[in-house]
C-alpha cells in the first residue's frame, strides 16, 4: 500500500497555470484607481553631507501630488537588530553611497515625476570616500558612521578547542588567501512597491517580500500606526534568493507618498535601481589556515574573513557568520578559530545572498584539494574523511540530528564516474567536487516560529491561513500538499490565504531555508488538529476510537473496515449541528538555543536541523582562449525527505546555474569609485540556456526526525556547493589552484602562462 497520496509525488505546482497565462500579478502589474507614479531621487555622490534640500520648485510643477524628504520620515532609522539600527529611511545628514535615497515624488505620470526630480535642489558637501576593505581600514580613513570605529561594523569571534596546539600537532599546515568581488541577486522581477491609504488610515501595500510580517513591523514603527493598520498583501514574487527580506526605503517612501497624496502610489525600480539600491552580495577576502593529520583529517583551522558590507549594517551579523557556520556544519573540525569582520565602505548595501560567501566556501574546499594533493589523497576521499556525520555536534554546539553528506559524496562520485576520471582525463579536462551545508532557519533574536489556521467549508473543503511566502520556489504548493495529505482531501479542495499581514499569523519568512521545516510543520500540525476534531465526531458516530480511523479520498473511514465510512463534508455538517469547533490551529517553534546570539554568544543550537550537499563538475578548458566549457554537473543533496521531487530538482538546477555557472564563471560587479558599471544584463552576465551543461540530480533522503515527513530544505546545499565544484574542476584542468573568483578567461590564460614559465617542459 502506498504510504502517501501526495507527499513524495511529482505534482504539478498549483501556481504554475496562472503564471503560464500571464494572469499572475506581480507588484508592478497593479493598477489601482487614481494611482500615481512614484520616483526616487538618489545620491550622485559616494559620501557627502546633505547641506540643504529644496523641493519648492518640484512641488509647484503641475501634476506633482506629493514630495517626501527626511522631514517626513523624521530621520527614523532601521536595522535588523537593535545594535545595527544605522540606516535612515531617508538620510538627514549624510549620504553614504551612490544611489542612496534622498527624496521622492509622486506625480500623475512618469515624465512628470522625472521632471520633478530634476527640480529638487540638493546641496551636498562632498566628503572623501572609501571603496575597498583596505581603504576603509587604513589609518586615518574617512569614517562612515561614528558608532563603528575603523569602519568595522561587525566582528564575529569564535574560538573552539585549542587551535595553536592543533597546528602544532598537525602533519601538514597550509595557509592561503581567497577573494571574490561583489555579485548580484539579479531577481527576474525588479523591485516594485504599490501603496494606498484609506480614510481610516489603514495602509495597504504590495511588494516582493520574503516575509510580510518583517515588512509590517518597521512600517508600523516609522508611520506610527499600529500593526493592524499595516496590511502587507499577498502578491506574486519574482524571485528573492535571500533578498527581499528587509524593509526597503522604497516601501516607506511609497507609503509616505500615498499618505501625503491620499492616492495610491506605485514605485517601480529600473534594473539598475534593483542592482544598486536593493541589496548586493558581499565581496570577501578569506584567509584560511588548515592543519591536517597524515590521513588528511582536519586537526585545526583558523579563518579570518573580511567582508565588504557597503554603507550600512543590513543583515550584517548574520552575513558575517553564515559562511563559517555552513562550513563548520559540512566538515568536522575540532579546533577552530574564526574572525569575521564586516567592513563598511561607500558602496551599496550588502545582504544575505543565496550563494553567500563563494570565496569562503571555495577557499575551504579548494584548500582541501591542495592538501590532498600534497598527501597523495584525492579530493573525494578528502571530503569523505572530513564529512560531518549524524549525531555529531558542530564546534559552535549544534547537534546534527540527521546528516547524509557521506551518501551525497559517494553517490555523486559514482554517478559522475569520479574514480575513472580524476587524474585520468586528457589535458585541459578537469573534474572537481564541492560540499556544503545550510541551516533550516536560524530564528534567533529577530523572529519566531510559524503559525497556521485551517477553516473548513460545508462541502468538506478547507482554507489554509498561513504567513508562509512563496517567492518562486513552490512553497504555496507545499502547503496544499501537506494539508491534502493529512486530511485525505484532493489538492483542489485546499484554498490558500497566505502572506497577508491583515489575515495571516506570524511566520519567520521565506529565507534562511526555514519554510519547509518551520512553516511546513506548523501547517501539518494545524491539519492534524482538524483531523483530530473530525475524527472525534466520526468515532462517536461509528462507536469506535479515533485511533481506528483514517482519512483518504474525501472520506473518513475505519481503517480495518473501510466500508464504515463518512464523507468529510458530512462530518463537517455534523460538527455544525453539534456546535463543535473543527477549525484547526498549528504552531511550530524550532528547538534552538535562544541564548545564542550572532556576536555576543555564537554558541548553542543554531538551527533544529541542517541539509548537506555535494556537487561534482566536469569541464574542458580551451588553453588558447581561456574559455571554460562545462561538460556535465552532478548535484546531490540530503533534503531529509523529498516532498515534491521535481520541485527539488528545479532547485538543484537553479542552484547550479546561480552558484556554479554564474558564480564561478561570469558573475561579478565592476566598479568605478563606488559606482556600479555593470548593473544590467548587458554587463552582468547571467547564465543563458546555451551556457548550461547537462545536470544530473541525486536526491538523498535521511528522514529527519523533526522535519515534516522527514523533510529539511530543498536545494540550498547544492547552490552553496556548486562554486567549489566548478573551481575544483577548472583547477584540475589547468593544473593551477585558483584563489580569485570568479574564474574568468583572463585569469585562466594568466595561470596557464605562469605555469608554462614555471614548468616549461609541459
Amino acid at each position: 500500500m502506498e504510504k502517501f497520496s501526495y507527499i513524495g509525488k511529482d505534482m504539478k505546482r498549483i501556481d504554475a497555470a496562472y503564471k503560464a497565462t500571464g494572469e499572475a500579478l506581480f507588484s508592478a502589474d497593479l493598477n489601482l484607481p487614481r494611482m500615481l507614479v512614484g520616483k526616487v531621487l538618489r545620491s550622485p555622490h559616494a559620501h557627502a553631507r546633505i547641506v540643504a534640500i529644496d523641493t519648492v520648485k518640484a512641488e509647484k510643477l503641475p501634476g506633482v501630488k506629493a514630495v517626501v524628504t527626511a522631514k517626513d520620515t523624521c530621520g527614523d532609522k532601521w536595522g535588523v537588530f537593535k545594535y545595527t539600527q544605522d540606516q535612515q529611511f531617508l538620510p538627514t545628514e549624510k549620504v553614504r553611497y551612490v544611489g542612496e535615497e534622498v527624496a521622492a515624488v509622486a506625480a500623475v505620470d512618469e515624465d512628470t515625476a522625472l521632471e520633478a526630480l530634476s527640480l529638487i535642489d540638493v546641496t551636498y558637501e562632498v566628503l572623501p570616500a572609501v571603496f575597498t576593505i583596505e581603504e576603509a581600514l587604513a589609518p586615518g580613513a574617512p569614517q562612515l558612521h561614528e558608532v563603528y570605529p575603523n569602519n568595522t561594523n561587525i566582528h564575529v569571534f569564535i574560538d573552539v578547542g585549542d587551535v595553536e596546539k592543533g597546528f602544532a600537532h598537525s602533519y601538514l599546515v597550509k595557509e592561503d588567501n581567497f577573494t571574490a568581488p561583489e555579485d548580484s541577486y539579479f531577481q527576474g522581477e525588479p523591485y516594485a512597491v504599490a501603496a494606498q491609504f484609506d480614510h481610516a488610515g489603514n495602509l495597504e501595500i504590495w511588494m516582493p517580500n520574503a516575509g510580510p510580517h518583517l515588512k509590517a513591523k518597521p512600517l508600523s514603527n516609522v508611520l506610527k500606526i499600529p500593526l493592524n493598520k499595516v496590511r502587507v498583501r499577498k502578491i506574486t514574487i519574482g524571485g528573492a534568493f535571500g533578498g527581499r527580506s528587509e524593509i526597503s526605503p522604497a516601501d516607506v517612501i511609497c507609503a509616505f507618498l500615498a499618505k501625503k497624496a491620499q492616492r495610491p502610489v506605485k514605485i517601480v525600480y529600473t534594473r539598475e535601481e534593483n542592482t544598486v539600491c536593493t541589496r548586493q552580495a558581499h565581496s570577501m577576502i578569506a584567509k584560511i589556515k588548515t592543519g591536517v593529520d597524515k590521513e588528511g583529517r582536519v586537526v585545526a583551522r583558523d579563518i579570518t574573513c573580511h567582508m565588504d558590507g557597503g554603507a550600512y549594517s543590513s543583515t550584517g551579523p548574520i552575513a558575517t557568520s553564515v559562511p563559517f557556520l555552513c562550513m563548520e556544519q559540512a566538515y568536522r573540525m575540532e579546533n577552530v578559530r574564526y574572525n569575521g569582520y564586516r567592513i563598511l565602505t561607500n558602496k551599496p548595501i550588502r545582504g544575505m545572498f543565496r550563494t553567500h560567501g563563494r570565496a569562503f566556501a571555495c577557499g575551504v574546499d579548494i584548500q582541501l584539494d591542495m592538501i590532498g594533493e600534497a598527501l597523495g589523497i584525492d579530493p573525494l576521499t578528502m571530503r569523505l574523511r572530513n564529512a560531518r556525520q549524524t549525531g555529531d555536534t558542530t564546534p559552535t554546539k549544534s547537534y546534527v540530528p540527521s546528516c547524509g553528506l557521506t551518501e551525497t559524496i559517494e553517490k555523486t562520485g559514482k554517478m559522475s564516474r569520479w574514480k575513472e576520471k580524476f587524474r585520468k582525463l586528457p589535458p585541459y579536462y578537469g573534474i572537481g567536487i564541492g560540499c556544503n551545508s545550510v541551516q533550516t532557519g536560524f530564528p534567533m533574536g529577530i523572529r519566531g516560529g510559524s503559525q497556521a489556521f485551517i477553516k473548513l467549508n460545508e462541502d468538506g473543503g478547507v482554507t489554509v491561513i498561513t504567513g508562509i511566502v512563496d517567492n518562486g520556489q513552490g512553497n504555496d504548493h507545499m502547503i496544499v500538499q501537506i494539508v491534502a495529505e493529512e486530511l485525505g482531501l484532493t489538492p483542489d479542495d485546499v484554498q490558500l490565504i497566505t502572506a497577508d499581514t491583515e489575515v495571516t499569523p506570524s511566520d519567520p519568512g521565506s529565507y534562511s531555508m526555514c519554510e519547509t521545516f518551520i512553516g511546513g510543520n506548523a501547517v501539518r500540525l494545524a491539519a492534524q488538529d482538524v483531523k483530530k476534531k473530525l475524527f472525534r465526531i466520526v468515532a462517536d458516530e461509528f462507536g469506535v476510537s479515533a485511533e481506528q480511523l483514517s482519512a483518504k479520498n474525501r472520506k473518513i473511514f475505519v481503517t480495518n473496515d473501510p466500508q464504515q465510512e463518512m464523507s468529510i463534508a458530512k462530518a463537517v455538517r455534523m460538527a455544525l449541528t453539534r456546535n463543535e469547533s473543527i477549525s484547526g490551529e498549528g504552531s511550530y517553534w524550532p528547538k534552538v538555543d535562544w541564548r545564542r546570539e550572532w556576536v555576543k554568544n555564537p554558541y548553542g543550537q543554531l538551527s533544529e536541523t541542517f541539509s548537506f550537499g555535494t556537487v561534482i563538475c566536469e569541464v574542458k578548458v580551451d588553453p588558447e582562449t581561456g574559455q571554460v566549457e562545462v561538460l556535465e554537473v552532478t548535484a546531490s543533496q540530503d533534503v531529509g525527505y523529498a516532498l515534491n521531487p521535481k520541485v527539488i530538482e528545479g532547485q538543484f538546477e537553479g542552484g547550479v546555474a546561480m552558484g556554479g555557472q554564474g558564480g564561478m564563471l561570469t558573475e561579478y560587479l565592476q566598479w568605478h569609485e563606488g559606482r556600479v558599471l555593470t548593473p544590467t544584463q548587458l554587463g552582468y552576465l547571467i547564465p543563458l540556456a546555451i551556457d548550461m551543461p547537462k545536470i544530473n540530480n541525486i536526491i538523498v533522503e535521511t528522514i529527519d526526525p523533526k522535519g515534516p515527513y522527514g523533510a529539511k530544505e530543498a536545494g540550498m546545499s547544492v547552490a552553496m556547493s556548486a562554486a567549489q565544484a566548478y573551481c575544483g574542476a577548472i583547477s584540475n584542468a589547468v593544473g593551477v589552484y585558483f584563489h580569485e573568483y570568479p574564474i574568468t578567461p583572463d585569469k585562466i590564460l594568466k595561470a596557464i602562462e605562469e605555469k608554462k614559465k614555471r614548468d616549461p617542459k609541459r
Binding site: 502589474d29 531577481q187 546555451i690 548550461m692
Partner: protein, 159 residues
C-alpha cells in the same frame, strides 16, 4: 512638460482591435501594459537584454521594450494573454506547467512565447536548437533544464 503631440494609433492585439491615443515615443511594452492592461508582458531590463517583454509580431518574437507602439500598427500582435483559449491552456503553456518549467514565473510569459514561435517555425527542434532559441530569454530560477525538457516534450509529440 512633454511637448510631443499625442497621436492616434490602431493595434491588433490577440485578434482584437484597439484604438489608442498616445505619444509616438511610447514603446509597445508601455502601451500593452499601461493602456491595454495586458500585464502578462513583463519588464525586467528595459534594454532588450532579457526577453521578459517578448511578444510576437506576425508570429515573430520581438522585444516589446525596444519596439515603438506606432511601428506595430498593421501587424498581428500576440501577447501571453492571447495564447490560451478560454479555460484551455495552449499546449506550450501546458508543457511548461507539466514539466515544472515555471518557478517564480516572471520570465515565463516571454519564454513561452519564444518557445511557441520556435515550434511554429521548427516543429521538431533539437536540444541545441531549443537552447539557442531561448537564449534571448533570461531565467534566474530554473537553470533552464526543465524549460528545455518542456519544449522537447512538444517536439517529440510532433506538435
Amino acid at each position: 512638460m512633454n511637448e510631443m503631440k499625442k497621436t492616434a494609433i490602431t493595434l491588433n492585439v490577440n485578434n482584437e482591435i484597439f484604438d489608442i491615443v498616445t505619444f509616438p515615443n511610447q514603446t509597445l511594452l508601455e502601451v500593452l501594459r499601461d493602456h491595454l492592461h495586458l500585464t502578462g508582458t513583463k519588464e525586467s531590463c528595459g534594454e532588450g537584454a532579457c526577453g521578459s517583454c517578448t511578444v510576437l509580431l506576425n508570429g515573430v518574437p520581438v522585444r516589446s521594450c525596444l519596439t515603438l507602439a506606432i511601428a506595430a500598427q498593421g501587424k498581428e500582435i500576440t501577447t501571453i494573454e492571447g495564447l490560451s483559449k478560454g479555460e484551455k491552456l495552449h499546449p506550450v503553456q501546458e508543457a511548461f506547467v507539466n514539466h515544472h518549467a515555471i518557478q517564480c514565473g516572471f520570465c515565463s510569459p516571454g519564454m513561452i512565447l519564444t518557445a511557441y514561435a520556435l515550434l511554429k517555425e521548427n516543429p521538431n527542434p533539437t536540444e541545441a536548437e531549443i537552447r539557442r532559441a531561448i537564449s534571448g530569454n533570461v531565467c534566474r530560477c530554473t537553470g533552464y533544464a526543465k524549460i528545455v525538457e518542456a519544449i522537447k516534450s512538444l517536439a517529440e509529440e510532433g506538435r
